[in-house]
């Protein structure tokens, strides 16, 4: 049954941007997924869990519906709380994994892109991260290598390009143009994500070296933000802040109906109806989303600032 529903979900908008959630959906069935490696880690004495999902080959890619690459998920239940003693070790973790995924590219110019719509609270995460960055590219250009070394900084530039409804352009077009012109060594894209489970909202950070693939997630998309399309390494940092409207109804219903004897067809038909009539183009978000996005954006800005400037 689940096969059917999940497929239909993928076709519509019902979805998760978290590799971890995709992987978990298999666990329910105790399936070992070929081509997918799962590793877990914890930050001692802190309520922080790290899960690394590595999609190693095309088997894994097909099963997961996500591109080959490494997906690091930091589960931090207290991410939206205002407690410096929690955010400091958390920031260290984010820095560590950004550097790990950057590999040897961690030296060289970096462009940060704060994706999303500044005017919609749960989608404003990316733009808000950019608001608090300490950009240095223009300073290094003005004051030279000496200045850069003295401050132990890498060149950082940043942009919050807005969304297609505001610009009339694909984000990928804007970023591709800027990258060709300013030639950073890598792009780090910050984006608000959609999760499948409400409990993930504002508690989870995903860092991946696969970039961002709009829509179903795999394939050579014209509008993807990845190395293939942009010509530079792309790290994506995402935090789920919304659940898709269709997803939440589907999942609730699925749980309720499980084992109650409805036919696949009956449920599929209903799901279609839900999506068409009611909840497509809707999103679900928590009531305190403004404070959560503000708090989380500080932490990610802080991590990026530390990552590329030692003396800040």
């Amino acid at each position: 049954m689940k096969e059917e529903i999940k497929r239909s979900s993928a076709n519509c908008n019902a979805r998760t941007d978290l590799a971890l959630e995709v992987r978990e959906s298999f666990e329910e069935d105790n399936v070992e997924v070929s081509g997918v490696v799962l590793e877990e880690d914890y930050v001692q004495d802190k309520d922080i869990k790290i899960t690394r999902v590595i999609i190693k080959d095309e088997h894994g890619q097909a099963a997961m519906g996500k591109p080959i690459g490494t997906y690091i998920t930091i589960e931090a239940p207290r991410l939206q709380e205002d407690d410096e003693t929690y955010h400091e070790p958390l920031t260290d973790e984010i820095v560590k994994y950004i550097k790990e995924l950057l590999g040897e590219d961690k030296e060289g110019e970096v462009l940060i892109a704060g994706l999303g719509n500044r005017e919609v609270t749960p989608d404003a995460l990316g733009p808000k991260v950019v608001d608090n960055l300490f950009v240095t590219r223009h300073l290094i250009r003005e004051y030279g290598e000496e200045f850069k070394k003295k401050n132990q900084m890498e060149s950082m530039s940043a942009i919050a390009p807005g969304v297609m409804g505001q610009t009339g352009m694909e984000t990928s077009e804007i970023l591709k143009g800027i990258i060709k012109q300013t030639k950073p060594k890598c792009l780090i894209a910050i984006d608000a994500l959609a999760a499948r489970s409400v409990s993930r909202l504002n508690t989870t950070i995903q860092i991946t070296d696969t970039g961002i693939s709009p829509g179903s997630g795999v394939g050579n998309h014209r509008n993807a933000l990845n190395e293939e399309c942009l010509g530079v390494k792309v790290i994506a940092i995402g935090v789920p802040t919304v659940v898709d409207g269709a997803t939440i109804v589907n999942d609730t219903l699925e749980r309720f109906l499980d084992g109650k004897g409805f036919s696949e067809e009956e449920m599929y038909k209903f799901m279609e109806e839900v999506r068409e009539k009611m909840v497509c183009n809707m999103f679900v978000t928590p009531k305190g989303i403004d404070d959560a996005v503000k708090r989380i954006s500080y932490t990610i800005s802080e991590a990026l600032n530390q990552c590329f400037c030692q003396t800040i």
Copy 2:
């Protein structure tokens, strides 16, 4: 069955702020509700429908779960579109009904309160309306009666007090204090509402002379914004911009399960679970909510400006 579920909904957060939706829930059963009058009207050649729900007595109040008074609902499917030829007659309707509900109080000082949280897009309607008001109270105080008559204006003041999480105070406390000090003849409160049906979002304006009663909606609440508590007439103008998370799941489920033979108890138990685990403190809102709120706030500001200043 519905009784049971609806009661439980009322106890939790699942709810509608629209009297029209409450009234409609009875229609499904073809019930004539004692103490409640329903009148319909249309704006010629425009896609605008007016429904007047009048709760006349305590019978009506008890049945509807809303205070005695008049609830005018303007259904304007194109409310969020950017078409002046639609918004002009719509503005005229809003002006007409505000004046009708004000009655003889339409002359005299008015205080406009833009309720809600400016930082959360669908809740920012009230503050955004205030942003575009042409306040005149201080001008009339400075330039005198002559100036007021020449411009055919009534004194208008305005405030966007923020929400309790920002101020630590009940909105009713703030407004009661300001009203006692500045002595307006009436208060007009603008607020984003929760609807039961997604199709109501950003397409419906409710204007009522009952003010705003938080929570279950009836009774002498300490924190209500109504004439009884504030000592001046209160007109509330509301536009549904969100559906409560619990509501949308309940309603979807109800429709799906209707006639499929589940016991009330079975469903009630599940609803409880949904509310507790998953969707309480969540809201559902459309993806283009930023443009919708901007557009609608202009129209309401325009109506208020016209209402209290003829020469604008």
Copy 3:
């Protein structure tokens, strides 16, 4: 000569909100001002200077053109820089002096008012401080004394009422109403100030127990924010972010012309012309004012949060 010009300045808009600057204007003439005490202090190893101007009696009040009371000025040249190791001791100083001026009123409910216009960058300091406060009044009302003691907090509420051009009401009317209704033990008003000297901008914090007196500054004004008018102790925290347009021209001219043999009358006439034709209702502010206001508002919010909640 200076007498004449200064008098004329006072009549127009040319002015300083800083008691320290008023006091300094006498120093140029090496005058000891009767009824005014001046004390200086330094924070060891930090580039922070504290000056305490105490206006003790009516002599002092008349000479200074400011009400009787204590004016603590913290000069912190690095106030707008993003350096935690500087802002931490600075925050401690702010906390210390707020507590000193509160005296025995430091226990009991406090209302914070963030004055100014959120839409004008250098005037947004007050509203931005409120944005980052941890208000607790509603929490204490919900969770009780136990909760309050456990968290070692005092009740804090906050409001950013906007300016008269937005509300049509005097700020004093709004605050008087809210104070009567919610009965705090004291008001702390945060406001952007006007300085006489450009070098004061974004580098100086004034904390005073005299509140805020609009206009010329002394006397029983209907619209003052002080204990006499509001009935509760009023602490004002101000940071100069603008110089008045007329002031800057006057001062420049004065310095240039000093000793060049112009008659008082000649200069007075010119000043009048400048004020009328050109620079009245103008303000002068630095180009990086957005970053400065953001940074400074964090520090003041932090100080207030620490002041009224030990466990934050």
Copy 4:
């Protein structure tokens, strides 16, 4: 004398972005400037004056310190007032002159760039114009030529790239990249300007086909926004919202001292002092700048929307 001072002004920040003001500075001396044509026009019955300054050759360019091209200045004293009957004919004028300067390029894709810093009120004009644009490029790409013809629209895209302090990149780099990638036929850049005279603020619109040349204004600058650098026609629409701090002091002083017998050297030295010690990196702006920028940005957005979509 003026030569000396003006030269020094150009070297520092004291400046005007308005060709009209440069031209006027010659008028004082009744000079006919070779290579510069001046034409005036009025909108009947409306308080709107149009001045066309055409810099025809290198003589004119050298004299004016502005590139060869056409500078249309619309003087609209009521530009910041909220009166639709004034803004409608004004919008028509803006549309007319944009189309005139576009010439045959008025058909084809256009990119609008809202320059400036959204966080600094008088600099937010460009970003605010973009906020109210009806972008269509993505719609035409999705719905095709039919849709475009039916709506009589040209393809419009838009971006508010932010300023170098926020992005670390030159605006010209960002726009050059986007233009290469998305290939519009022309760029229209909206920017807040600096005027020499306070009376120009928020009352004047300059439309030019020379683009924007940072700094002294003439020459092949790496960072200019003009056809030479960007490869597409560039129309710049600017509204003065600030006066440079140094300019205002210089001009005031000049007027005062004119004919009072100071030596050029004496004044030059003083000006230097002013610039260094006091007012460099300061700007002067009117107190109601928030309302002015909001109002003016609506009018420019409206003009652009009308220009590129007939059916809006």
